[in-house]
Amino acid sequence: MALERRRKKQKQKAEDVVILDHVSKAYSTGAPALDNVSLRVKKGEFVFIVGDSGSGKSTLIKLLLKELNPTSGTIIVNGQDLGRLRRRKIPKFRRGLGIVFQDFRLLKDRNVYENVAFAQRVIQAPIRDMRKAVPAVLSLVGLAGKYKAKPRELSGGEQQRVALARALVNHPSLILADEPTGNLDPKNTKEIMKLLEDINDRGATIIMVTHNREVVNEMKKRVITMKKGVIVSDEKEGEYLDD
């Protein structure tokens, strides 16, 4: 009985891509950014994290990237206890994540192909693998024809698709998207969300921080609402809550 319970627990742990256990984060000035937050995200889930400015969403993403360390509590991402992760192991850990930002963060002086290939160069992928993987992911995001274009020659939606392609090219199991539609018009927002949904359908776990009420309400996915560093609601097929 005890063995069965332990197996069940282990299986559940393996299914959890992200575990936050009583995590708090306080900056040197002001109130805590995160206050005793616990949550689990299962493999293959699509999770929205919503909340006002200062609710702790961005701090949460930074903690998951190990850009910040928590003041207390345990964070496990992709089976890796971030509290025990040494500084020199951070690059390898981040390679298992796909990261998308609101401001795209593309290398401005390199073309679309080079921006996506850069993620492959970082993991020292062989050139011949790169030549297959980059065009494949560019056609997945619908930019195969623009591989030579520089970021400034692309629209906001196209730039975000390049960023998405870069996040996907190494086949990460977890994608962290911080306001990916924040700088996009409704049409491009729709396209990016469609892409993220497709990627999720292929098995990737997605955690997306957003302010966009329509997107959240339309997708009918898990919604975690934060306020002043605390999770105030966690709904399976939730909606963007009003204050």
Binding site: L65, E67, R88, P91, K92, F93, R94, R95, L97, I99, R105, L106, L107, D109, F118, A119, R121, V122, I123, Q124, P126, I127, R166
Partner: protein
């Protein structure tokens, strides 16, 4: 690994052209500093050479008691030659001394002498390793039996050794100041150049690039800029040196006997590796440490 090395080297070179204004500013700063350093180094080296040549001409002359045998003179020579201060010791026999005197002072009147009036003037001419040691050696020589007289040039020796010391202190001071200014200016230029690319470094780190992968192109870029910054002043000094030496030779021909300039090859023996070392070293450490500040993402 090889493709990574190739990629980072290529990126380093590409960065130089991409940030051409920053590259130009860095090369110009390093060039200016190393040019000044090279000019001072060349002047100092030549000064020291002039002083050293003058020093080498300074000698002590030792005369013997009347009737000192040649065997005894040989013994004394052996004793003196063992001294640390002595670079060279020449024996001038009485006949040689008389021949030299005749040629120098008597000219056509020398035929009137049938005997050597300087019969007891056999002597040693002693050349020193360092003129500042003259006093100690003279004291020793005066204590050796059978030595009648020791002639020395005290004024010249003191002046030269003092002058040489002064030049060494001034040159060390100037070189230290120049190096400090170079390091400050260059690291400032590199800092500005890299701060502009802070965002790029951040993106690389988020994607999972190692510190080495982020740093390598910057370091290669810094080293190439440093090497260029050293090559330009070295070329300039190489060309200018010959012209300046030629000009001084023509303009101040009176001083040709005193001023003996070193060949450029001798000057470059140390200047070349030092300048390249400083240029590449500053490029390496400047970019290495400046990038480190932005790696903590």
């Amino acid at each position: 690994m090889i493709s990574t090395l190739f990629y980072t080297t290529k990126q380093g070179i590409v960065n130089i052209f991409k940030n051409k204004w920053f590259s130009l500013a860095s090369v110009a700063t390093i060039s200016a500093c190393l040019f000044l350093f090279g000019v001072f180094y060349t002047i100092i080296l030549n000064f020291q050479n002039i002083v050293k040549t003058a020093e080498e001409g300074v000698s002590i002359t030792v005369f013997f008691d009347e009737g000192t045998t040649e065997e005894r003179m040989a013994e004394i020579k052996e004793l003196i030659a063992k001294r640390a201060e002595v670079r060279q010791i020449d024996f001038i026999s009485a006949d040689e001394a008389w021949e030299s005197f005749k040629d120098e002072y008597l000219g056509e009147y020398q035929d009137g002498f049938t005997e050597n009036p300087l019969a007891d003037s056999a002597n040693f001419e002693i050349y020193l390793n360092d003129v500042s040691m003259q006093g100690a050696l003279v004291t020793y020589l005066e204590s050796v039996p059978n030595i009648r007289q020791v002639n020395r040039s005290e004024v010249t020796a003191n002046t030269l050794s003092g002058f040489n010391l002064l030049i060494s202190y001034i040159s060390a001071g100037i070189i230290v100041i120049l190096l400090a200014v170079s390091v400050f200016l260059i690291s400032n230029t590199v800092t500005i150049g890299i701060s502009v690319r802070k965002e790029e470094i951040g993106i690389m780190k988020y994607i999972g690039a190692t510190d080495f992968f982020v740093r390598a192109p910057f370091v290669i870029e810094g080293m190439i800029i440093g090497a260029l910054g050293a090559a330009i002043p070295l070329t300039a000094i190489y060309i200018l040196y010959a012209k300046v030496v030629e000009f001084l030779g023509e303009r101040f021909s009176v001083l040709t006997g005193i001023m003996t300039f070193l060949p450029i090859e001798v000057v470059f023996e140390n200047l070349l590796p030092i300048s390249i070392g400083i240029g590449v070293g500053i490029g390496f450490f400047g970019s290495f440490t400046t990038v480190r500040r932005h790696l903590k993402v």
